[in-house]
Symmetry: C2
């Protein structure tokens, strides 16, 4: 903390009277040295400002303390929140989380994986882009680095942790059908397995309930989902082209845009009798509770997904191969009834 800066373990050994190998042991695991030595070391650390050089450490350790987190788009509220939770758990467990964003682009995802691999991380948590991912790259990465795939189930890595879209979509479709006009389904052309699953489950559930599925699929692929919801929603409303006045959006960000579209077109949204339209989303994004009206949606169990992903990765790192071949853990969601549907 305090005094002069000491730059190497060698120097610290000199001023503390403890040998360098013992110091090395201490920094790997403070509990692995005798109490008396530990206090001596900690006293020296009080008087001299020293921090081990991470590069030197990782060059020599067979297993680094680095954990890579790769997400498709770090500015997306869902991933931002997910990353936040994962980072916390990694830090608390004494690991060193490094976050990479693919910024929605295949090349940058590949790049992130390559960079990460050259860091020889202890493990990686990867939320792939989905359809745009370079499957071979991901697989060859996952062959080298203990990898848990989360969010989007690209069939690579040692395990998958994600959300049970069948359960959640069935839940919200059922709810919407029971409480009013059966919903149409608004989506972008699916870019990942989740989006696909959601659409298919919507169709299946509608059929089960004896309704005609109505899917509106717009062919856009920016990461600016709200804009897509707003623009396409406005078009649909203005042209009176909606097959149902109840709209289930494939995710909350689209729904946020769709809500704005309704508002701007003077359409009142909600489940009350005075409302002309119902809009529901999926994910329970952090924003969903602050829309006007507050968004009815199905939650993803963020913290369960984050927690389990990290736990499974830690197990992997400690050498516990998962029992099943490539387990897929899904967490269900809860219906979040707010005012919009």
């Amino acid at each position: 903390m305090g005094g002069r800066r000491v730059n190497t373990m060698e120097e610290l050994a000199a001023v503390s009277g403890i040998s360098r190998p013992t110091l090395s042991k201490y920094f790997n695991d403070p509990d692995s040295v005798r109490v008396s030595t530990r206090t001596k070391i900690q006293q020296a650390l009080q008087r001299y400002d020293y921090r081990p050089n991470i590069f030197a450490i990782n060059q020599n350790r067979k297993l680094t303390k680095t954990i890579g987190i790769v997400v498709p788009y770090s500015a997306d509220p869902f991933f931002a929140e997910m990353v936040r939770m994962i980072e916390r758990r990694c830090i608390d467990a004494g690991f060193w989380p490094l976050v990479f964003s693919a910024h929605g682009e295949r090349d940058l995802e590949n790049n992130a994986l390559a960079t990460l691999q050259s860091l020889r991380p202890a493990g990686a948590l990867l939320a792939p882009l989905g359809r745009s991912s370079d499957f071979d790259s991901v697989q060859s990465f996952a062959d080298e680095v203990p990898t848990i795939i989360f969010d989007s189930n690209l069939k690579a890595g040692k395990a998958f942790v994600g959300h049970d879209n069948s359960q959640s979509i069935a839940l919200v479709v059922n709810y919407l059908c029971r409480t009013g006009e059966p919903p149409c389904f608004f989506e972008m052309v699916p870019v990942n397995p989740n989006a696909n699953k959601r659409r298919n489950t919507y169709i299946a559930t509608m059929k089960e309930l004896g309704h005609q599925p109505m899917v509106i699929s717009v062919d856009r692929s920016e990461w600016d989902f709200e804009r897509i919801g707003l623009e396409e929603g406005s078009r649909l409303i203005a042209q009176n082209a909606l097959p149902s006045q109840t709209v289930l959006c494939s995710n909350d960000r689209l729904a946020v845009g769709f809500l704005a579209a309704a508002y701007q077109n003077g359409v009142k949204v909600g489940y009350g009798d005075d409302c002309a339209m119902r809009i529901a989303g999926h994910d329970d994004h952090p924003q969903a509770q602050f829309t006007c009206p507050p968004l009815t949606t199905v939650s993803q169990d963020y913290s369960a997904i984050a927690e389990r992903s990290v736990d499974m990765l830690f197990d992997l790192i400690e050498g516990e191969e998962p029992e099943a071949d490539r387990p897929e853990v899904l967490f269900g969601g809860k219906l979040v009834m707010r005012a919009s549907a």
Copy 2:
């Protein structure tokens, strides 16, 4: 790309017939070797899969290619967007950006700085927590690492790049006064210089215009700003405690919450004659265009701030000390007139 994997430069030297020091030169700057050698190396790289070990590189180089980016809260849309832009520019310039989030906590900010410092980065871009920052830590960090401070002007580092709050608040206060009832100002107890500046500029501008300033300051400090806006806004509206029906919020996230509060209390927001209340924000967050009604606000010039911060850092890294002692670059904002005020 293709064939057998080669793990060290030594091995690559063996199979390529080029000496290791020359390879080292090549990886530092491909243009620094003769064309004929360059092609030979690139041919070898085609046949063997090799990537230099980042740890070894950084341990030995006096100057690493690492750039640290530290933000107070990575899940905040403003910082998420900022980070996205900064990362891009760093990658394009051949640097290796590493993002750290303080998760709103002093200890984690210190921790991030400590970790970062042990990476001996070429430079750092730091958006401090503000009032919660440990000034001594930041300063001692900035003494060692070429640092540009952005967003929140903690007086450390070699330069500051940020937003001109005086200009933008004056702009929006003027606008609001000209177009209707003079605004009251809604804020959390300021946690950083920006918030302070905004409040003070509000007060000054109101006085200049001959109006009585009306500041509503709530004593909360979570990072869940929207919730604060919603809860406190609801309270104020329900208790009819607002000194003015025009509310200027200290930032867009508060405004988003306030909009929700108005909606939920049945108060119509907007600048039309049929509206009971006007709400404006500050920052032009990515969400602001999708609120209901769309949020009138003042923009921050995100990309200018990101760009200039990075450029100044690159100059610093290349040894160009800034001319002034510690220049402070401010970018002005533009009034974004939408429907809410």
